[in-house]
Symmetry: C2
Subunit: 445 residues, 2 copies
Amino acid sequence: MSRTSRFVRILVTQMTRSTRVNVNDLVLVSVDDHLVEPPHLFDGRLPHRYADDAPRVQRSDDGADVWVFNGVTIPNIGLNAVAGRPKDEYGVEPTAFDEMRPGCFDVHERVKDMNAAGVLASMCFPSFPGFSGRLFAAADDKELALAVVQAYNDWHIDEWCGTYPGRFVPMALPVLWDPDLAAQEVRRVAAKGCHSLTFTENPATLGYPSFHDPYWDPLWRAVCDEGTVVSIHLGSSGKLAVTAEDAPVDVMITLQPMNICQAAADLLWSRVLKEFPAIRIALSEGGTGWIPYFLDRLDRTYDMHRAWTGQDFGDRLPSDVFREHFLTCFIDDPVGLQLRDKIGIDNIAWECDYPHSDSSWPNPGEDLLAAAAGVPDADLEKITWQNAARWYSFDPFAHRTRNQATVGALRAEAAGHDVSIRSFDKGRTTRSSTEIGSLASRATA
Amino acid sequence: MSRTSRFVRILVTQMTRSTRVNVNDLVLVSVDDHLVEPPHLFDGRLPHRYADDAPRVQRSDDGADVWVFNGVTIPNIGLNAVAGRPKDEYGVEPTAFDEMRPGCFDVHERVKDMNAAGVLASMCFPSFPGFSGRLFAAADDKELALAVVQAYNDWHIDEWCGTYPGRFVPMALPVLWDPDLAAQEVRRVAAKGCHSLTFTENPATLGYPSFHDPYWDPLWRAVCDEGTVVSIHLGSSGKLAVTAEDAPVDVMITLQPMNICQAAADLLWSRVLKEFPAIRIALSEGGTGWIPYFLDRLDRTYDMHRAWTGQDFGDRLPSDVFREHFLTCFIDDPVGLQLRDKIGIDNIAWECDYPHSDSSWPNPGEDLLAAAAGVPDADLEKITWQNAARWYSFDPFAHRTRNQATVGALRAEAAGHDVSIRSFDKGRTTRSSTEIGSLASRATA
């Protein structure tokens, strides 16, 4: 090969494979972040007769701020609000509002933190109610439970998202105890522009009928009618991936994302996808690198076993069915980016996971580009915002032009906002063990 | 680019990337197959005083052949012995010896089936005792339990493997109830040439101390001293990957291999690897395509969390540690083959899984080459036999030359042996439901 032709080959390879985009030109829509509920959330949002029953914040004896509802006390777990803190302050101990970055619970500070990281829009999962609002659903008084769920959803949509139009993808809590009420609530919030429902990986482990039970049909009908995505976050089954009480906590942290494959398989083979062909499901924080293997496994299972299990997808393979129904989500996942075509380039969305411990904040764009070497710009656009916008019926440029929506433009607006890593430790807690059993008992103490 | 230089480029690409090997030239050593124990296994192998207590086969009322020991009845599950049967005869119903291909339980027929598929050597996991022999360990009389474990191991090594030297990689059952006896048994069978111990994914779920407990230290010391691999088969935790009782069985089948990631994470972060640096573990039937994601996840967990969890691997990353200690195994896994360099080309071994339902028998070489497009010959050699031979201290050419050990040579020896798919159905069972709960209750009835 001549020197010239080798040069041409290298050039062609570079042009077709490498990323030319500058981090400042990215548009970042995150399909998975979290909010810590502020103490005033329910103020003025519940009927007067529930004044004494509303969820409320109180300071526990050990100095943590905890939520109390229906006789249950729920701490804010440290790992869930560690953005901007040094890594040696991570942990699962109950925490207090003054031990968190204010962006965890204050929407004005949140938007500054988003700007400083270059994040245009964010979908925020709940904290103390549980990912599927099971705390509220457990209330004996179901009228109270419904009032609390609706108050939460109104606060989330009208106040948290409404204060900064175009900066948040709204999300609603489900009603778990009554599928007709669940459907009504989906339709009610859809009328307010909310097309994302946070749900559980497995209703059966929460004590409700499983995904295979017709119980949920009214809810599935409503989400299909309203174009609402069922957003299933890792860890929402109420059952942690615990191998043994004395296992190091690193085991659980490692296993959490892939554990969501259980929900993916459970739904993929269920009657839900067959009877509700418009249903769409997001595997929030589930990662993407394991998906190509999972799709091969689905297809092989179908090939080897359908003759006796009776599964029938017509002229499609299970992997085709997966791509019609599932959105996969990742924070930092080089393998998933490399294998994006095996996953489905229209089925991958990026997330920031602020303010959790796995988040890439405050440099998510830089981290993403480092992992995305060789990904063409058009694919990056799909992953960073186009897929999120399409799945969640969200127009990122309704309130800003594209030029005003980039990482560079947002960061310019945040000039002077301090994102340096700093200690929030108040010296309240000490830690002697990192075994899962011991940490779990402290976290729920 | 000129036509000539383009041709050269294509040629170079072909030469460096594609597989030139013919299926007949492959040497196949399978690190995961299964045997169904024949009724005569314990004949003459137990002290006379245990004549009435030995595990024995009896015909159940519904016509299945079941093993009985210590008051417990264990059926042979259909899916575990379906090689050569039509796929619509797969199922989990209890089965009888005359409903299986004789190669399941008769070593002479087994070797014919291996020859016909071109498989040189095979490591056979146990069936009725459970992957870690927990049926035997549960006996109240621990002298009886030890006698039965030793009788089983002697039969496996001396008779099953010994009848055809060079055709089987020997494997032993562990002693679960006494780590010093466990160590002694590992040393005893190692002296007979056995360097594989079948073990559980999670001793804690079986009711024993977890991997994190020093209880097992004598056993780990013995396997390190003897160069014995701890072979952990999927499904050996005693806990199936069941999402809900009414989930279709396809869910469980899909999830089983990846579920072994729990054992991999549990051991990776444990003190075992740090205190027993020579220990080696095989993730049998665990698949490989999810491993690259898993390794990234390990390294990210280490990066984000070690400051508070206290994990310390010195100058190595968790992914380096994984490659020092773990062998990964697959039946048919195109993603794992594509990403072989991310897994570690010295950490991948092929398996046949005869006579289970996921097996590629009787055409494993053809299936492997179809999935291995683009894998260079040198890598294929490692995957098909070199890694297995090194990990399990097995010399595939001690009893045959390489030319006598290939798929082509073995198949020539099996000329006339019938491997056609044929019915073994005796019309005993009917199936009305494929829900996990219903199948599990029938399988253990």
